[in-house]
Amino acid sequence: MAPAETTETTFHACSPDFFTAAGTSSLELGTIRTFKLSLEHNKTSPMPEHSDLKTWFATSVKENMDSFYSVARRLTGHNHDAEDLVAEAVAKGWQAIDSLDDHNRFRPWMFRIINNCYISNYRKKSVRPVETAYEDITDGNSIEEVSNILIKQPNEFLEWWGNPEKEFINNLLGEDIMNAIECLPEVFRVTVLLINLEGLSYDDAAEVLGVPPGTIRSRMKRGRTLLQKQLWEHAKDAGLLSGNQFEEYTT
């Protein structure tokens, strides 16, 4: 397929097909358009000439394949689904190459396609949690939000969190953390993966997920608090907590 030449200098998160496929509402589309404007001050890097485009795309995909597969694997929770998801997303990426105007935006653009493919075709099969009684808070009082998050947590956990055992930290396995991330509700799981695993900025993650950057900040607070609580519960159930840290509070 011959990609058409583009003249716009701003970044399209994805082609209209992908918005539809992901069930993205027109409201979210509006958000993205507004957000696009905020990116205009960033220097863009034009796409390669048509003749070099295939080579550039192939190289970019190969360079980032481990990143794409890592996120896909933790999103789906299945190795085979992750393989299909990445293969499908790469094919869709090439089909929609016209919608990428700035080659520096390749990674967030591909992550958006991966996430949208996941939502369309793989989420139903996933055994991982999807639904959560959570509403994004973007313009609310941030401190009040933290207070609301913490008030729902058990005191025992909050006390521990401010004084965790060194032994617990030393013995905390990366794989246990990754398993706990896989158990997070989807909205938090994907945010934590993009930011903490792939190192995307909050602005880039916002672009991938089609939400304002403030929402990403809020999801990180909620997602990571939830993650920490899961790790604590896991350690508690496994008898890995010494309980020593509570003495300070009771004496």
Binding site: K54, F57, A58, V61, K62, M65, D66, S67, F68, Y69, S70, R73, R74, N79, E83, V86, A87, V90, A91, W94, S142, I143, E145, V146, S147, L150, W161, G162, N163, P164, I169, L172, L173, G174, E175, I177, M178, I181, V192, L193, I195, N196, L197, G199, S201, Y202, R217, M220, K221, R224, L227, Q228, L231
Partner: protein
């Protein structure tokens, strides 16, 4: 004011733990870029053991996610995608 003595040493405003936790992840993720906010957060960590410990733990978790979360693409998928790219 009970915290007047702090202001004799520097003029960075005191924040409480809630405000520190509000900024904790943004700080660790390199997203707390406002210098005033950054100074307030750092000052709080210097004075608050709980927030310091929390920050340390969350920082360790960030490191371990980066270290162990990456998966190598299986050969079958590398072949499949290379095949697709070669046929473009």
């Amino acid at each position: 004011m009970s915290n007047d003595h702090h202001h004799q040493h520097d003029d960075v405003e005191e924040i409480d733990c809630l405000e520190a936790i509000d900024n904790l992840y943004a700080y660790l993720d390199g997203e707390l870029i406002d210098e005033g906010e950054l100074a307030k957060f750092r000052k709080h960590l210097e004075h608050c053991n709980s927030c310091y410990s929390r920050s340390e733990l969350e920082g360790v978790i960030n490191e371990r996610i980066k270290k162990t979360g990456k998966s190598k693409t299986p050969d079958a998928l590398v072949d499949r995608i290379t095949g697709f790219l070669d046929d473009l």
